[in-house]
């Protein structure tokens, strides 16, 4: 048992750190939930890709470095520590790509992955529907067989990034007569600019169009854009769902870096004309708990990475992650806003918002954590039933 990095891993860290120091924009990019910011973030994906930093864990043939999980964790730690921009490609890289690696054929991978790695194609997810939030099995949008492909119809919602993205992926009901609701679903990719697609951006709490509704009216999708077997979409999607909740969506580097910035904020105070009240031990304790929580999450992830490297796998345990990081993220940002005193009220768009509004935007972002990727209520049910073995109930 150890926490030691190899010389090769240390070298990888140094390489990543140096590259980031040289390339991370000195001023933060505009919010990626705006048209201007989306374009700037797409450009940043291109920069990352040019030096093979956009998808470090992918095989080299698709633009990656074949990095191990541990190397990926190292890269993420350095990435967040460097204050690098948010990843506009994250829906594709974290949700779609793992599914493609597991279920797609070679032609699909060769066609889809390189443009995802370069930021040329930005993907949106299209999971939810108005009547199917956490209860994905009750999806109603349909895929109807037609010559050479499928016709998609129905409505998707909470499609993150879809306001500005190029393509989307999701589940559609291809067999309305299947005996159980989660059978008869098919996993499909489709373009957002195709005929029959209407994208209606939805503003999140702070008004930015972070997601959209998609209205689909007989949108043609060729057979080659089905992932896995038709009717097997639920099974295909589950690997992605685990990923979203588990290791990849919220890398520990995000929280250790935020906890460090929080500690710095506590020590230095919110603004030039103010001073921190470091004698307020109630606030200090909340900073400490964020520091401890981020470290615990990092160590827990190291343990999981070690387990995977030793041939193990992560199943329902990903629900532990989901609840932990989402609660931690909110506590961390609430503490930051409280440290900011009157400046904590400012919107991230206020000129005078501390840290270019990153605490304010991070707080808004954190509030979604316990909701998406399966609400924390659902996750606690899963933990109780699958990890603790408690009897299922009607909830």
């Amino acid at each position: 048992m150890d926490l030691d990095f190899t010389a090769a891993e240390d070298a990888f860290r140094t390489e990543a750190r140096d590259w980031l120091a040289a390339h991370v924009p000195s001023a933060p990019l505009p919010s990626l939930e705006t048209a201007e910011g989306f374009a700037a973030h797409r450009e940043w994906e291109r920069t990352l890709h040019a030096d093979r930093w956009s998808v470090v864990s992918w095989p080299k043939e698709y633009g990656g470095r074949g990095a191990s999980i541990l190397q990926w964790l190292i890269f993420e730690e350095e990435y967040y520590a460097a204050g690098a921009p948010g990843r506009v490609s994250q829906n594709g890289i974290n949700l779609l790509a793992p599914t493609l690696f597991e279920h797609a054929d070679d032609e699909q991978r060769a066609r889809v992955l390189p443009s995802m790695a370069s930021g040329e194609v930005i993907w949106a997810q299209a999971w939810s529907e108005p009547e199917a939030g956490s209860d994905l099995a009750s999806l109603r949008s349909t895929a109807v067989r037609t010559e050479g492909g499928w016709l998609l119809s129905g409505q998707k919602t909470w499609s993150s990034r879809a306001a500005f993205a190029d393509r989307a992926f999701g589940l559609f009901r291809s067999d309305p007569d299947a005996d159980r609701p989660h059978r008869g679903l098919t996993y499909l990719m489709f373009p957002l600019d195709a005929e029959g697609v209407t994208v209606r951006p939805i503003g999140r709490l702070d008004g930015k169009p972070a997601f959209a509704e998609l209205f689909l009216d007989r949108v043609f999708v060729p057979d080659r854009d089905v992932i896995g077997e038709p009717g097997q979409g639920w099974r295909v999607a589950m690997s992605t769902a685990g990923n979203e909740r588990g290791l990849t969506l919220r890398s520990p580097g995000r929280f250790t870096s935020a906890a460090e910035r929080l500690t710095e904020l506590w020590r230095s105070g919110p603004a030039a004309d103010d001073t921190a009240d470091t004698t307020d031990t109630a606030l200090r304790d909340r900073v400490t708990d964020a520091v401890i929580g981020a470290r615990a999450y990092q160590l827990f992830t190291y343990a999981n990475a070690s387990r995977i490297a030793a041939g193990g796998s992560i199943g329902a345990e990903s629900s532990l992650n989901k609840v932990y990081w989402s609660d931690l993220d909110i506590a961390l940002h609430e503490t930051a806003l409280d440290l900011l005193g009157p400046y904590g009220e400012l919107s991230d768009e206020a000129d005078e918002a501390p840290a270019h509004g990153s605490w304010a935007e991070g707080y808004t972002f954190s509030l979604a954590g316990p909701i998406y990727a399966g609400t924390n209520e659902i996750q606690r049910d899963i933990i109780a039933e699958r990890l603790l073995g408690l009897p299922k109930g009607r909830r």
Binding site: G133, D135, G203
Partner: protein
């Protein structure tokens, strides 16, 4: 002892509720957020007509007050309906001018406040911003020793009339527009300004507490209604025990904050020297309960609660802003046990 609202209080609340419901408050708040203050000013006029703004102004200057219990009733309704504008600040400015005892100043400004023709703003001692200073007719600022509890051997504070406001700094509650007051002429100076500023801050914190309670009530009511209708896994999510318990805890927090707000009103009404403590306790309890209500509303509405399209977002975001306005939880807790 009859620690219950009287029939007249309840009638007053009902009539405000009716008037504000008719005004379409979400639309008014959205317009205010976008810089169109006309609908908000129209509501302001109606509030003045209903006597709300006169409640903080003494009779000799055209008011009906000060009447803290009635203010609590009114501000709870203002919170329930998310009415925009520097209502707290105007009432606090009135309290300051009334307490200051400068007859000329009072005669200059108070009648307009009572009549609803003067919208005032006042900068809180712990903030660089004055709420809606760009939309206010009169922006007051106190500087120097504004804490009001340092005894007599001080030069005291200065009261300034600002010459304008800097650029609007948007709040996370879009209906709150923050700006730094600019320049200003001195209106008064001395220990009496310190005392008046301290009293005004108490009145402001008290009004925020009442307003927050109203915000919390709306958040709870709307969420209860939503979870009764929304189905997942074949049943209304309101049948899930986790949902029930979270809403039950929200109700408990609001129900036990309510009497603290009323007790603070009575303490202010009687000139109790411990009123500041009572106000601080009410503020922290009401604002924490309301923030809990906002987190609950957001979580139980799920993604739809996370959108600004849902009018409820106006209340969700206001809950966070009120939590720190006119006294952070930490400052309020410090005050409760201060010697």
């Amino acid at each position: 002892m009859r620690f219950l609202l009287d029939d007249e209080h309840r009638d007053f609340a009902r009539s405000l509720d009716k008037m504000l419901t008719a005004a379409g408050p979400a639309k008014v708040a959205r317009a205010w957020a976008a810089g169109d203050t006309a609908p908000g000013r129209a509501v302001w006029a109606k509030l003045a007509e209903a006597g709300v703004l006169a409640l903080a102004v003494p009779e000799k200057h055209g008011g009906l007050g000060p009447l803290p219990v009635e203010l609590a009733v009114a501000f709870e309704q203002l919170g329930r309906h998310a009415v925009p504008g520097p209502l707290v600040e105007t009432v606090a400015a009135a309290a300051l001018l009334d307490h200051l005892g400068d007859a000329t100043l009072a005669a200059d400004l108070l009648p307009g406040i009572a009549a609803g023709t003067t919208i005032a703003s006042l900068r809180a001692p712990d903030s660089p911003y004055a709420l809606d200073a760009d939309a206010a007719d009169t922006v007051l600022v106190t500087e120097g020793d504004t804490e009001g509890d340092t005894g007599g051997d001080t030069e005291g504070a200065t009261l300034l009339l600002a010459a304008g406001a800097g650029p609007v700094q948007p709040s996370s509650d879009p209906a709150r527009r923050l700006a730094r007051p600019l320049g200003g002429t001195v209106l008064a100076q001395g220990p009496e300004v310190t005392a008046a500023a301290g009293h005004a801050a108490e009145v402001a914190a008290f009004a925020v507490a009442a307003q927050a309670l109203g915000v919390g009530r709306t958040l709870l009511l709307e969420t209860v209604e939503y979870v009764g209708g929304r189905t997942q896994f074949g049943v209304a999510i309101g049948t899930f025990q986790a949902v029930k318990h979270r809403l039950a805890d929200t109700l408990i927090a609001l129900e036990f904050a309510q009497p603290l707000v009323h007790a603070a009103a009575l303490a202010l009404a009687s000139g109790d020297p411990d009123a500041g403590r009572a106000v601080a306790a009410a503020k922290v309890a009401a604002c924490e309960a309301t923030y809990t209500a906002a987190r609950t509303a957001l979580q139980l509405h799920g993604a739809v609660g996370y959108t600004d399209e849902l009018d409820l977002s106006l209340w969700i975001r206001k809950a966070r802003a009120l939590r720190t306005a006119w006294g952070t939880p930490s400052a309020c807790r410090t005050r409760v046990l201060a010697p």
